[in-house]
Amino acid sequence: MSTPYTTIIGLEVHVQLATQSKLFCGCPAQFGAEPNTQTCPVCMGLPGSLPVMNRAAYELSLKTAVALHCEIPTFTKWDRKQYFYPDLPKGYQISQFDLPMSANGYMKISDDKGRFEPKKVGITRAHLEEDAGKSIHDEVTGKADSEIDLNRTGTPLLEIVSEPDMRSSAEARAYLQELKLLLTYIGVSDCNMQEGSLRVDANVNLHLETPVGHVATPIVEIKNMNSFRAVQQALDYEAKRQYRVWQETGQKLGDSPKQTRGWDDATGKTMAQRSKEESSDYRYFPDPDLVPVRTTAERVEEVRAALGELPADLRTRLTATHGLSAYDADVLVNQGPDIVKYFLLAAETSGDYKGACNWVTQDILRSVKEQDVAIDQFAVSALQLAALITAINDGQLPKPRAKEVFELMLVDRMDVAAAINTLGIEQVDESALVTLCQDLLRANPKIVADVQNGKHQAIGPLVGQAKKKNPNADPGRVREICLELVARGE
């Protein structure tokens, strides 16, 4: 370890669940509507209105909790968390306090470049709560009124709290990437950070070994990070800052209340915000308007069985059963469920996982990116890719010409057979190749002499000439035959 301290990181992630309507009312949960057009008496907190739990929101939470290997208690309830803020119209947030719907899970993280050892990050709990509204502040003078938009009020959020198990900003970033991937695979959230569907708060402090023993610095919560890159930068900045402050003041954990700091992307610094109120100050109590939810072990097993293949399982299958390298499996799986579905169909149909992996991670991904299309709109379908791979593997299509075929499939939307036909690709039999090589050698005595003198690379121009005379000639084979003929003195 190159630093004189260990960085201790825990992350709180809020994900918006992919429901049509809000958590406790029928207002739409979609992002981007005109301000204050998606509200009703329930989410505005008008007196006399009563919340009813959205079934899909609970089911999506359950699915996520199971995918995170959490324990699912058979009984859960919702509580009121009271605080005053203009974007919280009821004066309390409906959340979960002492009996959350799930707890004690974990997620595995690893790094394909080996910057840290694979590890399990503990999930303390995942609980279902409602979102608050949005405040638009006067950023310029801070003096004009703030504007409140309540469209987001009451949309369902799953708060996923990790144990303080991460030891570097790279681990924190890997955790976030893996979590996002998992949530996308099981389809519980679109995880769009720009639209606020995935928000991250980080808790960080340092542990130091000093002459007087083990010391921990005060815990800081960092907010306002709008990308995974920002999370990583903020954590790196904060670790250095805490070490500096500790050197200057010697302040330890418990010497000062937990501090909240906001990340500023522009300056690359964290800035102090308000000191955090003690959690008892939220005066949680069970919400009398909502009834508890009971579930059974059988129901949890059903959810587990219906989860499908999770990213970690898929990586294992691709490496263990289908012979892909860990790196390749990682690159593929990290592309998300749509690309993976495409890859799997091409691989299963052609029976060549490695071939499909090469095509998908190279030409397909590049073309998809260049054309800026969704994979299911892409010119070359998974089945067409499988046909292309099969044509190569069956020897119908010499590998060096496969890119030309792919280009025609891509640009002119031809199928494999039509593209092969158009290019006039046909197999050249061995004797024709030998004849071709013999003719070329006879016409180029200087090259023959050079090769005989040990300059094997002199053969290059002949390979080019062979390709001109017969585009179907396999350059690699031409080279081999020519060298062999020279060696035998023919």
Binding site: G26, T37, T39, C40, V52, M53, Y85, R283
Partner: protein
Amino acid sequence: MAITRADVEKVALLARLQLTDGELKMMTTDLSQIVTYVDLLAEVDTEGVEPMAHAVEVSNVFAEDEVRPSLPREQALANAPGRNERGYLVPPVLGG
């Protein structure tokens, strides 16, 4: 269990209530009496009684995930003490 003046001051602050000196005194007395009365429950032997999380014995009441019409914006904003054409206006909370 007696409630102190400091307790009342803290709770008043959390509830954003401004109390006069007289009100603080009165509240301290009243709340002490209420809490002392509730303390009677401590005399009941609750050994082996499962904690109650909710007053009604009903669970799993769900609504299906279906969008229903929201209020028109004009209606939603109708009672706002401060507003513009799009939203509610509140005193500046920046840095709060």
